[in-house]
């Protein structure tokens, strides 16, 4: 290893490890945690829906307001707020908008979170939770908590469903949006995004 190699390795190691401590990315919040904060009436909480206005009007998380990323970057935050952003589903072409950090760099809210699995997660774990017939104790415990939320937010909790109807993990399937066709909502989600053009490699 020559001297130059050592220098390069050192620079890489420094920049690499510094990266871990120096990220302006928002963290993630789970739907139940968000529900908890809304229920407790946290006054510093600001929830923003990043989908289209039409989708927002159909259904949105209670207390959320609609915003585009451009509007958000122009919003004057005082620095004490906790901001939560959500989209239809995180792992989607629309994920670019959800992952995209609004320009909160200089003066912005104290904490920014993304609802990782978006509205689907809100529906699956807060508004319309389902308990499988063969649920484990841990799942029952979570369902108990979720039914409280569900009652509070005006949804319906259901027990004794088939395992296949309980959504888990990242591929949040089997979750029906109470309103219009999910395919149009998803293509709308795709459009409500920054200009990340597709290109082949």
């Amino acid at each position: 290893m020559t001297r130059l190699h050592r220098v390069l390795a050192f620079v890489a190691a420094t920049l690499g490890s510094a990266a871990a401590f120096n990220d302006a990315n928002p963290g993630y919040i789970s739907a139940p945690a968000l529900a908890d904060q809304i229920m407790r009436g946290d006054s510093t909480l600001r929830v923003f829906d990043l989908r289209s206005l039409a989708e927002y009007r159909e259904l949105h998380i209670p207390t959320a307001t609609h915003a585009t990323l451009e509007e958000l970057s122009r919003t004057p935050f005082t620095g004490s707020e906790t901001v939560v952003l959500y989209h239809l589903r995180s792992f989607d072409a629309g994920a670019a908008a959800v992952r995209a950090r609004p320009r909160f760099r200089l003066k912005g809210p104290r904490r920014v979170y993304l609802l990782r699995e978006g509205l689907y997660e809100w529906i699956a774990r807060v508004r319309e939770p389902r308990l499988a017939a063969d649920a484990s104790d841990a799942e029952r415990a979570e369902f108990e908590r979720a039914s409280l939320f569900s009652r509070f937010f005006g949804g319906v909790a259901r027990t004794n469903v088939a395992r296949s109807e309980v959504s888990t993990g990242y591929w949040t399937t089997g979750v029906q949006l109470p309103a219009a066709a999910s395919s149009t909502t998803e293509s709308n989600a795709r459009q409500a995004v920054l200009q990340v053009r597709r290109r082949g490699c």
Binding site: T2, L4, H5, L8, R197, R199, G200, C201
Partner: protein
């Protein structure tokens, strides 16, 4: 014929070129995509023009280093025609695989890898694993 440059330095050079692509064109490098475009008759595609540049850069560098020569690089046990068959066959398998994966070492491993894309890292893992698994089987081509 001059010696090859240090691989780490060549790597840093490529990394800076890739970074320039991100900064100017909002995208990274590619290669396999050009083959699809050429087959479709589209020549004003970014990747096609890029690959033309790759050839030019390779040509000039080889010329300046005295490495420009007509040859068929192959293992000591292989004939020239054997090598050509292997090149075409290997190329065909790569072409198919690259279409499935939406890219190759340039577009997925390098470009996507540097951007932390999940699928690109999956590609890196399976590509290297499969290469190591297949190498003993095709040893006669290279050793």
């Amino acid at each position: 014929m001059k010696r090859y440059s240090d691989p780490y330095l060549a790597g840093v050079g490529i990394g800076l070129v890739l970074l320039t692509a991100y900064a100017l064109a909002g995208r990274g490098l590619g290669a396999s995509g050009a083959f699809s475009s050429v087959l479709a008759g589209t020549f004003d595609d970014w990747v096609v023009l890029e690959l033309a540049g790759v050839a030019a850069g390779g040509l000039v560098s080889a010329r300046l280093s005295g490495r420009l020569r007509r040859a068929i690089e192959r293992g000591p046990q292989l004939t020239a025609s054997g090598r050509m068959f292997a090149a075409i066959g290997g190329g065909a398998v790569m072409g198919f695989g690259a279409k499935l994966a939406r890219g190759c070492t340039s577009g997925q491993a390098l470009t996507g890898g540097a951007l932390l894309a999940a699928g690109s890292w999956i590609f890196i893992a399976t590509c290297f694993a499969a290469g190591y698994a297949a190498a003993p089987v095709v040893r006669r081509l290279w050793r």
